[in-house]
């Protein structure tokens, strides 16, 4: 058994990466699956695997889910290996890719796959790949964010490659369908299930790996996120409690927002609890509280010290994010921030914050002020995304009484025969997170 002192996160992560690359480059299986907890170096792994496959002379296609992810991957590839020609296959819409790619001479961009034939690496979205026809399939593919890809999207592109590396985070939001798909629930190829679910149902013998270390989450957050959302596949943080420090030049003025900021700076978590009340989705008090916390974070001259650099980096607006459950809530927070003169803070829903990283996040709790708890608000992945975007601290703004609400509304989704029941369910995960947050509670009446 590994003792606390003997655990070397760098070595553990390197061992896992070596095993993954060995199976990918030399293994005999058609597919390799890698589960990656939040911030465990998934993108780094994808880039490294891509470069090794390119080195081995195997033509490679990379499938990502959104254009932003594709552009990000292409820039990372270009940065790591400036000599490697990379193809960026894009749609024929206006502004199909990030203009920053135009500055990279080794990146060839086209809306036609034929123009990019022969390049060692071609990257595009699943939606675009689905329209590509080839006579000769690619030798290898990397499918990024495979847990967020729907089974039917994989069906449309799987004919393009012989073998593939599937990388993704099983704890994040599951893909969803706009219409009911109960009719296919329980089928191994249920088109609304995730690509990995279908892949493993048909190919249970494929090797599955796991990245064991989160480099993003601080030591204060990794145990909670691991216990609440990944109880059967635990991970550790790559840093220790002393490695990161968040401090503020301006002392607290004693208000609720300032007290919760101090609590979060000290412990990594903060819960700003407003008086219990049923509210509309865009709860004006809660929205204003979120905006005030962000304003104070900026006003108080925060500095984030971490293992990345010797000097502490100032906590600027682009290092802060606000996460909500609904788009109208995000819009309301944006408006409130604009009123307080705050710009450049990312405010978005859980779906859109997936895969992104900040120093401090401020979260409007999905169940805050609600009279009921629906499956949408209870979804495990939603809370997991919101609670795992930060490197230093996460501040949750919430109305009191959510744990009673949870007890009143246990999850009632029908269990379908033949489908894998997801553990932990959102109900349990919500309780676990709330219990932990309660230790860092600051009650405030605005």
């Amino acid at each position: 058994m590994i003792t606390e002192a003997a655990f070397d996160p760098g070595a553990a992560a390197a061992r896992a990466t070596e095993a993954i690359l060995r199976d990918t480059v030399q293994g005999s299986h058609r597919g390799v699956v890698v589960d990656s907890p939040p911030g465990a170096g998934k993108s780094t792994l994808v880039v490294r695997a891509a470069l090794e496959l390119a080195d081995a002379g195997r033509p490679l296609m990379v499938v990502a889910q959104t254009n932003a992810q594709v552009d990000d991957l292409v820039s990372r590839l270009a940065e790591k290996s400036p000599g490697l020609p990379v193809g960026r296959l894009h749609s024929s819409d206006a502004d199909p890719y990030d203009k920053a790619l135009d500055a990279l001479p080794q990146v060839r961009k086209s809306a036609k796959a034929a123009d990019l034939a022969g390049l060692p690496v071609v990257v595009s979205t699943a939606a675009k790949w689905a329209h590509v026809k080839v006579d000769e399939p690619w030798r290898h593919a990397i499918v990024d964010e495979a847990y967020q890809m729907r089974s039917d999207a994989l069906l449309a592109v799987a004919g393009l490659f012989e073998r593939a590396l599937f990388v993704g985070d099983p704890g994040q939001l599951d893909p969803f369908a706009l219409v009911g798909s109960e009719q296919w629930a329980g089928l191994s190829y249920d088109p609304s299930a995730s690509a990995v679910t279908t892949l493993l149902a048909h190919n249970p013998e494929l090797p599955q790996h796991r990245l064991p270390v989160s480099w993003r989450l601080p030591a204060s957050a990794a145990p909670l996120v691991s216990d609440a959302f990944y109880p059967f596949t635990p991970f550790r943080s790559g840093t220790d409690h002393d490695d990161r420090r968040l401090s503020f030049a301006v002392p607290s003025d004693g208000s609720g927002p300032d007290r919760v900021i101090d609590e979060a700076a000290l412990s990594g978590w903060g819960l700003l609890e407003l008086p219990t009340r049923h509210t509309p989705r865009t709860d004006p008090e809660a929205v204003r509280a979120v905006a005030t916390v962000v304003r104070r974070l900026l006003d108080r001259g925060g500095a984030a010290a971490s293992e990345r650099s010797a000097a502490a980096a100032p906590l600027t607006a682009d290092r802060i994010a606000v996460g909500t459950a609904h788009r109208d809530q995000a819009a309301a927070v944006r408006a409130a921030l604009a009123e307080l003169g705050v710009a450049d803070v990312a405010v978005d829903t859980a779906n859109r914050l997936q895969g992104r990283e900040f120093d401090v996040t401020v979260v409007l709790h999905p169940l805050s002020g609600r009279p009921d708890a629906t499956a949408f608000h209870l979804e495990t992945g939603r809370l997991c995304v919101l609670a795992s975007r930060h490197r230093h601290a996460c501040i949750v703004v919430c109305r009191a009484g959510v744990s009673d609400l949870l007890d009143d509304y246990p999850s009632t989704e029908p269990v379908q025969l033949g489908t894998l029941v997801k553990f932990p369910d959102g109900w349990e995960a919500n309780h676990a997170v709330l219990a932990r947050l309660a230790e860092h509670r600051v009650t405030w009446r605005p």
């Binding site: 689905a130 296919w184 190829y189």
Partner: protein
């Protein structure tokens, strides 16, 4: 639930009447729909008890299974149902018009236009509630794999001749009803619920009687009271004044009326079977006929109120003018009907029990496309629906206050006029977000440039202005025009092409193989099937 429908429900509570959530009818209604009000036996999902069915409000056909556990009687019921439904379907299968469809030429692989038949109209089945839809699917599923004596002389329990065919058609209707906006098979509560908001929950709206009580309450009675009476009101015998719309029946009806009547029927049947001479048999046959007639009367009483309510509901819907895009969606229903007619005529086997991977993915993609298309079309057809989208920040309407001509950069500058719109709406616009408006039925795109002041937003028009340097007349909004832009697209692009089922990739289990080529057999007969 959207904000506007919450408001409509609150208003319904306050006024005691359902509030309209649409100003036009968003579903096609046939001139001559076939209404089906089925009932099932408690405790056995697939055992029909009876049905009222027909196209004439005043002359429904009553079908009854006096002993629902008797398989022969059940087959007789299904055969009678087939005699009503199939002639109705056939009527529409015969009248055709010429149409064009693009198909992939098997030799060249190119898309070519082919002249094909399209049925001039299609049948329409109406059931009272969502549970009725499931029952139609269940009936279809239970019948389509049956074999008739003609198909398979060896089969131990041959089905009456047209029953498997009825199963295939009901399966098609049931499957098509899952496509958003389709109208081959409609549940009335769903259609009414689309057009009115009541002061009760959407779960309670599934009770046809209560729903109609809110929409069209008796003179001077508030909707809530009328709905409560529809749900709970009972007569002196303890029977519901408004029996459930089925297919499930009320337990009080089952216990007090139906069970004794069936028992009497069973006794009469046993007595007839043990009759010792012709005279005795005549008497006992009379008793059996009387017992059967009593059950028929019970089933008629239990279905007739629902039958009348269905036609009342249809009348209410017919009073609304049809939405502009409804005809287009109905045409797709006609294509679907024609395609299934052709499959039946070509002698293809019945629909498989489970979709294969490719079919399932294809259906899901098609339905998602139809859902998005339906939402867009309903908003374009109906200012009240558009108001809901505007309230949700997904559209905005306003007056054009300024138009400044501008041109794109490049070798051939094209017009890119800047239009300032004054609006009270609060759309969720970000930098360069695309917005769309309907210009002569075609979508015109613009992008959001920025705010010029409170409620003043600037758009750059991007397309549909012709090929010339100057935009075509009428293609650019003018000062003073009232315009409405949406953040959602008006039309849906076709999805990616999926592989053929025989090329199913390894990730999805590979090609189906030879097992799938064999026709599927009916479910094996188990001991429980035989009494």
């Amino acid at each position: 639930m959207s904000l506007i429908s919450t408001l409509a429900r609150l208003e319904a509570v306050a006024t005691g009447r359902a509030q309209p959530t649409a100003t036009v009818r968003h579903r096609h209604l046939s001139e001559r729909p076939l209404v089906l009000v089925p009932l099932v036996t408690a405790g056995e999902a697939g055992a029909p008890l009876g049905a009222l069915v027909g196209t004439d409000r005043h002359a429904p056909t009553l079908l009854v299974v006096p002993q629902p556990r008797d398989r022969d009687l059940r087959f007789a019921f299904l055969a009678e149902l087939a005699d009503v439904v199939l002639p109705y379907v056939d009527e529409y299968a015969e009248a055709v018009e010429a149409a064009e469809r693009s198909e992939t030429d098997p030799e060249t692989g190119k898309r070519v236009k082919v002249e094909v038949e399209l049925c001039a109209d299609a049948p329409q089945l109406i059931v009272p509630s969502r549970a009725g839809l499931d029952f139609v699917r269940l009936l279809g599923r239970s019948m389509r794999f049956r074999r008739t004596a003609e198909q398979d002389p060896e089969t131990p329990h041959p089905a009456p001749p047209r029953v498997p065919l009825l199963g295939r058609w009901l399966t098609h209707f049931g499957e098509r009803s899952r496509v958003p906006g389709s109208a081959l098979l409609l549940a009335l509560t769903e259609v009414l619920g689309r057009h009115w908001a009541t002061g009760q929950s959407s779960l309670e709206d599934q009770h046809l009687g209560a729903l109609l009580a809110w929409i069209d309450p008796p003179q001077g009675v508030p909707g809530a009271e009328a709905a409560l009476r529809a749900e709970l009101g009972r007569d002196a015998d303890g029977q519901l004044l408004c029996p459930p719309a089925g297919p499930a029946t009320d337990p009080a009806f089952d216990n007090k009326l139906l069970a004794p009547a069936i028992e009497r029927y069973d006794r009469a049947r046993t007595a007839l079977a043990t009759a010792e001479d012709g005279l005795e048999a005549d008497d006992r046959l009379g008793e059996l006929t009387a017992a059967e007639r009593a059950i028929r009367a019970l089933v008629a009483d239990a279905t007739r109120p629902t039958w009348d309510k269905v036609w009342d509901g249809l009348e209410l819907l017919r009073a609304l003018p049809e939405g502009a895009h409804v005809e287009e969606r109905w045409t797709r229903d006609r294509w679907s009907f024609t395609a299934h007619r052709d499959r039946v005529l070509a002698g293809e086997p019945p629909q498989p029990r489970r979709d294969d991977a490719v079919t399932a993915a294809g259906k899901l993609a098609a339905r998602e496309r139809e859902q998005a298309r339906l939402e867009a079309q309903e908003a374009l057809d109906d200012p009240l629906v558009m108001a809901g989208r505007r309230l949700a920040g997904e559209a905005f309407a306003g007056e054009v206050t300024d138009v400044v001509m501008a041109y794109s950069e490049g070798r051939r500058p094209s017009p890119r006029p800047l239009v300032t719109v004054c609006t009270d709406d609060l759309p969720y616009l970000g930098e360069r977000v695309k917005v769309h408006r309907s210009l002569g039925g075609k979508p015109q795109a613009a992008e959001f440039v920025g705010y010029e002041g409170e409620g003043l937003l600037v758009l750059r028009i991007l397309d549909r202005m012709g090929r010339g340097k100057e935009p075509e007349a009428g293609s650019v909004p003018e000062k003073g025009d009232l315009i409405c832009f949406t953040l959602f697209e008006h039309d849906q692009r076709g999805g990616a092409k999926l592989p053929d089922p025989e090329h199913t990739p390894w990730t999805h289990g590979g090609p189906p193989g030879e097992a799938a080529a064999l026709p599927e057999a009916a479910d094996p007969v188990t001991e429980e099937d035989l009494l």
